[in-house]
């Protein structure tokens, strides 16, 4: 039952990412083209109306998720890969060095994610700052989760059996420990994705995202909020798109962890 829920949620989340990435190909108009009446409501040819500069909202929504989703995917995968590698190592060798790594990770956790990303954006372009912020703030969390799971598996029967067969530590980690914790790691990856979307949205709303004529869901929220009374769709549709993207990954993460019995 739970497995089926997680599978359905994974398919749904994957579809959300595909739509966000591929929507640009479906646009009929140039998303940056100006032409309609500012804040025009929905009408034939303009299904979602226009924004404050008279640009087609539907085209901007279709095209506005690509950069954000790509950035968030890159950030989540980087943070997760580093965290899984570090966690496997730290959990397997519970030594002084791995404790030092855990302490450094805790130090990073004390600083808020958005503050780290804002500092990174001083020196880096927006997408790079999202990746830097997610890695600095997310990798320590992944590392701790994976290290705990690995340390717990260190003396489990299936690991000791593999070691007794004469397999090397690294191969036991890759072939036995990693697959056994795929659920936890997948849930953690989904959580990293949610965090990096939140971070990307915050930075883009603050004006550190793509340069103005480029369409972006987060920037649309800031641009179109003052015109909410005139054309609500210009704000509500990109807000819904972001809510579906983050909500489906959060639900997937929740389904995966509760199946494994973790809180």
């Amino acid at each position: 039952m739970r497995r089926r829920t997680a599978g359905a949620l994974a398919a749904w989340a994957g579809a959300a990412v595909l739509v966000a990435l591929g929507g640009r190909a479906l646009t009929g108009h140039d998303p940056a083209a100006v032409g309609a009446t500012p804040w025009a409501g929905p009408e034939p040819g303009l299904p979602l109306g226009a924004d404050g500069l008279g640009r087609d909202v539907l085209s901007r929504v279709l095209a506005g998720g690509q950069d954000l989703t790509l950035t968030a995917l890159a950030a989540a995968l980087t943070a997760s890969a580093l965290g899984v590698a570090g966690g496997l190592w730290a959990g397997w060798n519970r030594g002084r060095l791995s404790r030092a790594a855990a302490a450094t990770a805790d130090l990073l956790l004390a600083l808020p994610l958005l503050l780290l990303a804002l500092l990174a954006v001083v020196a880096l372009p927006g997408p790079a700052a999202v990746i830097a912020g997610t890695v600095l703030g997310g990798t320590p969390l992944t590392l701790r989760v994976v290290a705990d799971a690995t340390a717990g598996a260190r003396h489990a029967g299936y690991v000791e059996a593999a070691l007794a067969r004469g397999e090397r530590g690294a191969s036991v980690l890759m072939r036995e420990v990693l697959p056994a914790h795929a659920g936890i790691i997948g849930a953690d990856l989904a959580q990293r994705f949610v965090l990096s979307v939140q971070l990307a949205v915050a930075l883009n709303v603050l004006g550190f995202g793509p340069a103005p004529p480029a369409p972006d869901w987060a920037a649309m929220l800031r641009e179109n909020l003052p015109g909410l009374g005139l054309n609500p769709a210009a704000t509500i549709v990109p807000a819904l798109a972001l809510a579906v993207l983050t909500g489906s990954f959060a639900a997937l993460s929740h389904a995966l962890t509760s199946r494994d019995g973790a809180p």
């Binding site: 404790r99 855990a102 302490a103 805790d106 130090l107 956790l109 004390a110 600083l111 808020p112 994610l113 958005l114 503050l115 804002l118 500092l119 990174a120 954006v121 001083v122 020196a123 949610v194 979307v197 939140q198 949205v201 915050a202 709303v205 603050l206 004006g207 550190f208 987060a218 929220l221 800031r222 909020l225 003052p226 909410l228 009374g229 609500p232 704000t235 509500i236 807000a239 972001l242 809510a243 983050t246 909500g247 990954f249 959060a250 639900a251 993460s253 929740h254 809180p263």
Partner: protein
């Protein structure tokens, strides 16, 4: 979830944390392509003028010297002067602190009880409501702040005409003169914070509720509220105070988004403007102030957590 290493005393750890934060902040701002002289020169200055500006600002000195110079300035209360406006940073911060403080305090005052209520409802609410509350917590914590802001403006401001969607608070006016302007920003901060907090607190409450003395109290017929306040909340005090520190950290940075979206002139808006105009002294000091607030929150959490319940 909130275990931090305790190699030294709490104040030592806080000082180390703050020192590390100041180094990170300084290195990030020092890594700027171009420097303060380019900002002051406005992009049209000749090479000689730039060199003169650099010498005036002390930018030709080595990095460690500049770092120590900044640090001693912070410690003696003279952290620097804005490159753009020429005004002391301390003055700019003092002018805007009230808005951010009002937002953060109100958001915490609303968010903490809401966190507790949500976490309790997820663990001990009516059985039929628990899945719904859990879904609310999971998806609520995942929503980007700007999405919450858009939803609240659409619902409360546009549909009901209840609160001004974009506030225009005159600079320097205390925010409590216009509390109606703060309602939407505070809700935007408090609601996702409460969902996030509840997601973290839920597990701790579930652990305590499983204890035999809680079931005893329930069987004795005590009301759920009495059980919550007398038997459950005291036992989750340690994780809850650390949770408070984590939420405070999120709020400190999160106010930036809310201030920009709702047009409030607070510290977050100051930081964001300074980053986009590359006003390095302002960025450094506001970021350090934010880090200091987070560290102070962690200190309070450590001091408040009773020794016996520490995990």
């Amino acid at each position: 979830m909130f275990q931090l290493p305790r190699p030294a005393g709490v104040p030592v750890r806080a000082a180390l944390l703050l020192a590390a934060a100041s180094v990170v902040i300084f290195l990030c701002t020092a890594a700027l392509p171009g420097d303060a002289a380019d900002v002051l020169g406005g992009g049209r200055a000749t090479a000689e003028e730039l060199a003169r500006l650099r010498a005036e600002q002390g930018l030709d000195r080595p990095l460690p010297v500049r770092y120590l110079d900044w640090l001693s300035g912070v410690l003696t209360g003279e952290p620097g002067v804005s490159l753009i406006t020429g005004r002391p940073v301390a003055e700019l911060v003092a002018e805007r602190a009230a808005v951010t403080l009002a937002l953060a305090v109100a958001a915490l005052a609303l968010g903490l009880p809401l966190t507790t209520a949500l976490a309790w409802a997820a663990v001990r609410g009516p059985r039929w409501a628990r899945p719904a509350v859990n879904t609310l917590i999971v998806t609520g914590a995942a929503l980007p702040q700007a999405v919450v802001a858009a939803a609240l403006v659409a619902w409360l401001s546009t549909a009901w005409g209840a609160f001004p969607p974009v506030s225009m608070l005159p600079a320097g006016e205390p925010p409590w003169h216009r509390p109606d302007l703060l309602v939407l920003p505070v809700l935007t901060l408090a609601l996702p914070t409460a969902a996030y907090g509840a997601a973290l607190l839920r597990g701790a409450i579930a652990d305590v509720v499983a204890q035999p003395y809680v079931r005893d109290a329930e069987l004795r017929g005590l009301s759920p509220v009495t059980v919550l306040f007398r038997y459950v909340l005291p036992m989750v005090a340690a994780p809850a105070t650390r949770l408070f520190a984590v939420l405070l950290g999120g709020l400190v940075a999160g106010t930036a988004v809310v201030e920009i979206l709702f047009g409030l002139a607070g510290l977050g808006e100051l930081l964001v403007t300074a980053i986009s105009t590359r006003d390095v002294p302002v960025v450094q000091n506001v970021a350090l102030l934010a880090a200091a607030v987070v560290v102070a929150g962690l200190l309070v959490a450590d001091a408040a957590a009773p020794e016996a319940v520490r995990s």
